[in-house]
Amino acid sequence: MNEIPNLLVGIAMGLNLLALASGRLPSLIRVAAVQGVVLGLIPLVMERVDWPVVLVAVLSTALKGVVIPGLLRRAMRVANIDRDLAPLIGFIPSLLLGAAGAIAAVALARLVPLLPEHRGLLLVPGSLASILTGFVLLTCRSKAISQVCGYLILDNGIYLFGLLLIHAVPFMVEAGILLDLTVAVFVIGIIVDRIQRAFDSLDTRKLTALRE
């Protein structure tokens, strides 16, 4: 019964490594989007599917897989930035960090007590690995949009952990979707700032023209 969810978590863990190895922004955004869709599917293949589960699946797939990557692409165009990632630490070291993180995640997950129905699932190691990957991207990439992608992957990790609670406390997991809103605000922030600054410079030029 746990094979399909575990397969999806495994794919997500592989995507973490891909994210760490991505050298260009569009590919990093694509990896984060695919991870969002893969994670969005997990609740649908778990043992019991009722309407809160479907709601969580649909909302998170739409936000993580479509809306936020769309916004990120738009921000990339508006901000007109260089698409190479310029990492603070190189790709090979970050990959090694990510791989070590994944192994540590599996080891750590063995130490915490789990409910019998969760023992066969890879949710806890998958979640920890994504959180670690998110932190590496947040701290070791200098470009704003790549930091947002890091935050998105961190957010994916927390969502994975939340799935442990989805049947008992669906409200908490639904609340967790709001975390995606933070990501959206990040991106909207970049877009608004660029637009505002363009207008501001225009305005001041007008003002000096009037004064003289």
Binding site: V112, F161, L178, T182
Partner: protein, 480 residues
């Protein structure tokens, strides 16, 4: 019902502000809502309502002990903000007014949240609404500060969600049925899975501690307080941080019930002392008087954390300190805003002689310094003495020593900066810039009133407040 109005009125006013047509008349909504909110909050303080045991939201003793202070601070900031937005007429204020009001509504919700999820949603919403407020000035520096706030604050909010999930899982492991109100979690008590409770505590302390600005998670504070308008800084330092503090107190009560209270207390005291030491060192080094306020806020948060960690009388003192900090820090932020505007700069190297250029604001600034540095007879003196007393009474002499040492160094750092700005000869550039802004009653009376309340709390805090703080401590530590 009344307690829900505290949340609904500001949120409705925010919607109204979002559709209000005129930029000149819209700021009226700020003091109007502030007045209604304060009246309601003090009515609730004096005549507390019944709270249903299983309610997700309610004006319980802890909300009663803290929320009126936030409401009062908002009223002062709103009155100041009305004049401030007139001075800044070149910027559109629709988003600013609407989000200030929404922030008040969300703070009221967060203080009254009796459910782990509601608390998190309110804090998350509050974080997001304050983002455009910090960015109000629209400068590249403001963008940088906003970015850091989002990055650090966003990570904090993510960690606190993960911590909340872990606490939820602790309840499931203990045979819980998914009721995550604090009352239900406390009732489960020793039935909670200890391992998960400890993991949750670490994550929640890191997460909400980031929002509170405890060191070493305080890195967003100097930038955000430095770049945000004075009223936003005042609301962040006196309102948003208290939300995170009550969140930590509520979770601490659960950790206590689970039998790990001693661990929780020790971590709170340790992180509080670390914050005080870090703040004192940075106060000795900084040359920017708006960033100075941020480090001073880190120090005050450290004191709150120590008080909360000591429990009992220490927590009582911390609740008292919340009021004192909100009033004194609010006043200081507003008078600093005046000085910053008139001086046109914010470092010691560029600003001096403010006693001549802005005599009223400079006087308020100096008085605010004495208030925040805990000089008697201001309220902070008494709350800090009580925290110290709790530390010594509990046999934590080393804690008391570090506390006193860092408070002393913080005092040196604060006075060094404040007097460098107030004394000396005014700069020519500031003289010219200063003529544009006059010290009207609109920008001097609100900080004066806050300072007056701080003094009053020190000299004669009313009995109803004493009783409210005692009730809150009883709610948090029923055994003592």
């Amino acid at each position: 019902m009344r307690e829900l109005l505290l949340i609904a009125i500001p949120l409705l006013a925010a919607c109204l502000a979002a559709v209000w047509p005129g930029d000149r008349t819209r700021p009226w909504l700020l003091p109007a809502t502030g007045l209604v909110h304060s009246a309601l909050a003090f009515w609730l303080l004096i005549v507390p309502p019944q709270v249903a045991p299983g309610a997700w939201v309610g004006f319980d003793p802890l909300a009663r002990a803290v929320l009126p202070a936030v409401s009062l601070l908002f009223l002062a900031c709103a009155t100041y903000g009305f004049t401030y937005l007139r001075l800044r007429a070149e910027r559109r204020n629709r988003v600013f007014v609407a989000l200030m009001l929404a922030a008040l509504g969300l703070m009221s919700l967060a203080h009254q949240a009796r459910h782990l999820g509601v608390l998190w949603i309110a804090t998350e919403g509050l974080t997001l609404t304050t983002v455009p407020l910090i960015h109000f000035n629209g400068t590249p520096r403001a963008f940088e500060a906003t970015w850091k706030y989002l990055l650090v604050g966003g990570t904090g909010i993510a960690l606190s969600l993960l911590g909340s999930f872990c606490l939820g899982y602790a309840s499931l492991q203990g045979g819980g049925v998914g009721n995550l109100t604090f009352a239900a979690l406390i009732a489960q008590g020793a039935g909670l899975s200890r391992v998960w409770v400890l993991i949750a505590w670490v994550l929640i302390l890191a997460g909400y501690g980031t929002k509170m600005g405890l060191a070493p998670m305080h890195t967003w504070k100097p930038d955000a307080y430095g770049e945000a308008p004075g009223i936003v800084g005042a609301m962040l330092a006196g309102g948003v941080t208290t939300v995170a503090f009550t969140a930590i107190l509520r979770v601490r009560a659960v950790v206590d019930a689970a039998g790990e209270g001693a661990t929780a207390g020790r971590t709170l005291v340790a992180i509080g002392l670390f914050s005080m030491v870090v703040a004192a060192l940075f106060l000795l080094a900084t040359r920017d008087f708006k960033r100075m306020l941020a480090y001073s806020s880190v120090e005050q948060m450290g004191i709150l954390s120590i008080g909360a960690g000591l429990g009992g009388i220490g927590t009582w003192a911390a609740l008292f300190h919340v009021w004192n900090n909100s009033m004194a820090k609010g006043s200081l932020f507003l008078s600093t805003g005046n000085i910053r505007r008139i001086a046109g700069a914010r470092t010691v190297d560029k600003v001096s002689g403010m006693a001549f250029l802005a005599p009223r604001s400079a006087a308020l600034f100096v008085a605010g310094l004495f208030a925040i540095a805990a000089c008697p007879p201001f309220g902070l003196f008494f709350s800090e003495i009580l925290v110290l007393k709790a530390a010594i009474g509990g046999g934590h002499r080393a804690v008391a020593a570090v506390f006193l040492g860092s408070a002393l160094f913080a005092f040196f750092g604060l006075t060094r900066l404040v007097f460098a700005i107030v004394n000396g000869r005014p700069r020519t550039a500031a003289k010219i810039a200063g003529r544009r802004f006059r010290e009207t009653a609109g920008v001097t009376v609100p900080p004066l009133i806050l300072l007056g309340i701080s003094l009053w709390l020190g000299l004669a805090a009313p009995a109803v407040l004493h009783e409210a703080w005692t009730a809150a401590v009883t709610q948090l530590f029923p055994a003592q």
